[in-house]
Symmetry: C2
Subunit: 337 residues, 2 copies
DNA sequence: TTAATTTGCGCAATCGTTCCCGATATCATT
DNA sequence: AATGATATCGGGAACGATTGCGCAAATTAA
């Protein structure tokens, strides 16, 4: 039905060969000015666009990169995607976005699918469920350029870009402490995720600094990053049902924050009177609440941009890159009270 | 660098021709069982995947559909995308998502880009800026299968799927009226958008039903759907600065709701004491506010699914489709007080 | 034993593009 | 006028996969 014009169409219409038309369109020196003009004008007229599949087949590259995130309906990721697109489009690359919904199975399928679609490179933030990275190692060993951002593995040697999660967690927890809270819980994602580990480290560092003992009962992991409401609900319930209730929670992510707020509202626990909150979030709705919640904001757009630049550098490098960068970008604490 | 195995690799390794290998993998009857077994096992071993570009070139289709939305960081669209992906993946199609950020220029570029990437079909919701649909007509006339959802044009004849915007707006406005509000303003997106027109119609219908005069000063359009904060701010300011201040606002969209809440908070206008709100939204954060906001929820996931099914029907139809459907799905009002 | 059929596989064209070679025409040089 | 240089263009292979056709060998039928 939809049959775009080809080089051959132009060639036939103009009585030329496809080679000549191709060269004319690519503005090669060996084609006369008037032939070029003829070809240009006709191509313009019929709105000729080179067939990208033919090009990909010939050039052995697709000029498109794959992106794997847990959810686009997450402000951190949607902002990162905007950063990714801004660089990619400028450099003539297409962006294919896939979502894992925090599922390891989906991640494997998506990565496999992207690889078979012959993308030129991969930009990925691990799902909450992912602890085995064999599917990525496999691709990486075969030479697929990839850059990790946000949630990174430690057993794959390539460019990585993360926020300074430890610093952010330290500042947010410190802020709670300075604000007078002493019994600070920590609600976070699955325990093997890099961001969870780093944020937990910042959290404990803050407690240590102020000589507050770390209470293991105060640390709650949600293996699916709050993807399932029951998960968050159970964790929050366990916290508020403790004999020695926490008076504040440091929450490690956006979805968890929303989930936590929902549960607290259902339980009729007042924020921040009964329990104060602070956490990682790139959402702009948090400061709309009556009692706004202090949040650590990650430079998502910047991270997307940087990750893409790193990836394109890998893709377009003439020789194999062996010197990899591990970029850490500072977060920013927005205090509200 | 990343060079996936080809049929030729298998053929050479096994001393066969590429035709035989191809036929073996496709399980054709004319290949002997033992050759098939040989080929299958070797293909499995080296993890052979057919080159999608070569296939697309040959089959003249890419098994991928393009999606154009204004923003993925919008709960309606992200849910719709989940619906789209669920159907598309089941049917073996890839989904390429692009964002317009409510810009007409971006929409043209994205559509053009998608078309040149030779997608098999297009799923699109118009940007707030779009009033001229020539770029889409052009593709449509050339036979590109396309389905519009949410924000649809009236001058392109193809499948369309929308929420029952008029009904939703009527119910939300009626709910405000029944709750005792009489001076109800309407904050909406650009005036040429189908959703704006339909929601305005529902709004005025409700006012009419309760014999409340329609005050033109109460109707504020944001040409970019609240993409720019200044736009929303100006509109809200104009409303609260009216001599005859409205006591409620019916807001036509998610982003506008957030923007409006931000402005009201900045102005220290209490919701709902000084001004009540109701509006279209698929976000789950609205009910986290102290005074929750009644909202009309669109069946986003369902709409995404249906739109995709319609598109795939167009794509896979043997003969040109001339009988187009205009599906309208009911919304649901969530009242909270 | 011979002819007819079936089985199993390879050749080559095709999709749209690019690019290495040639091929021809035009022109200047001796 | 013959040679060479340059300008301009076409032929054809290649990228990876599919598929109609052909052809040999194996099997069956006569």
């Amino acid at each position: 039905m939809f049959e775009p014009p080809t080089l051959k169409d132009i060639a036939n219409a103009l009585g030329l060969s496809t080679s000549t038309v191709s060269r004319a369109l690519r503005d090669t020196y060996e084609i006369s000015a008037k032939t070029k003009k003829l070809v240009f004008e006709y191509a313009e007229k019929i709105n000729y666009q080179p067939n990208p599949n033919a090009l990909s087949l010939k050039e052995r590259r697709t000029k498109s990169i794959g992106v794997v995130v847990s959810e686009v309906a997450n402000h951190y990721f949607s902002q990162a995607i905007n950063g990714i697109e801004s660089i990619a489009y400028d450099r003539g690359y297409h962006v294919i976005i896939t979502q894992t919904h925090e599922s390891y199975a989906r991640e494997k399928i998506n990565v496999q699918h992207l690889a078979s679609r012959s993308i030129d490179g991969l930009l990925i933030s691990l799902s909450a469920e992912t602890s085995d990275t064999a599917h990525l190692k496999y691709l990486h060993e075969r030479g697929m350029p990839m850059v990790f951002f946000d949630r990174v593995p430690n057993d794959i040697h390539t460019h990585k870009i993360t926020a300074n999660n430890e610093q952010g967690a330290f500042e947010a927890t410190s802020h709670l402490i300075i604000s007078g809270y002493k019994k600070i819980a920590h609600l976070t994602s699955s325990d093997h995720l890099s961001i969870s580990i780093e944020r937990l480290r910042g959290y404990t560092a803050a407690l240590n600094k102020y000589n507050i003992p770390v209470n293991p009962d105060y640390i709650k992991h949600c293996p699916h990053g709050g993807m399932f409401p029951e998960e968050t609900e159970r964790a929050v319930l366990e916290l508020v049902n403790l004999k020695d209730k926490p008076d504040a929670i440091f929450i490690a992510g956006d979805r968890l924050s929303i989930g936590c707020l929902e549960v607290l509202k259902k339980l009729n626990v007042k924020v921040p009177d009964q329990i104060a909150l602070a956490g990682f979030s790139n959402s702009d709705v948090l400061n709309l609440f009556e009692y706004p919640i202090s949040s650590v904001r990650q430079p998502a757009f910047k991270m997307g941009e940087t990750a893409t630049e790193m990836l394109l550098q890998l893709i377009e490098s003439k020789y194999p890159v062996t010197d990899f960068e591990n970029k850490v970008i500072d977060t920013e604490l927005f205090t509200r009270n």
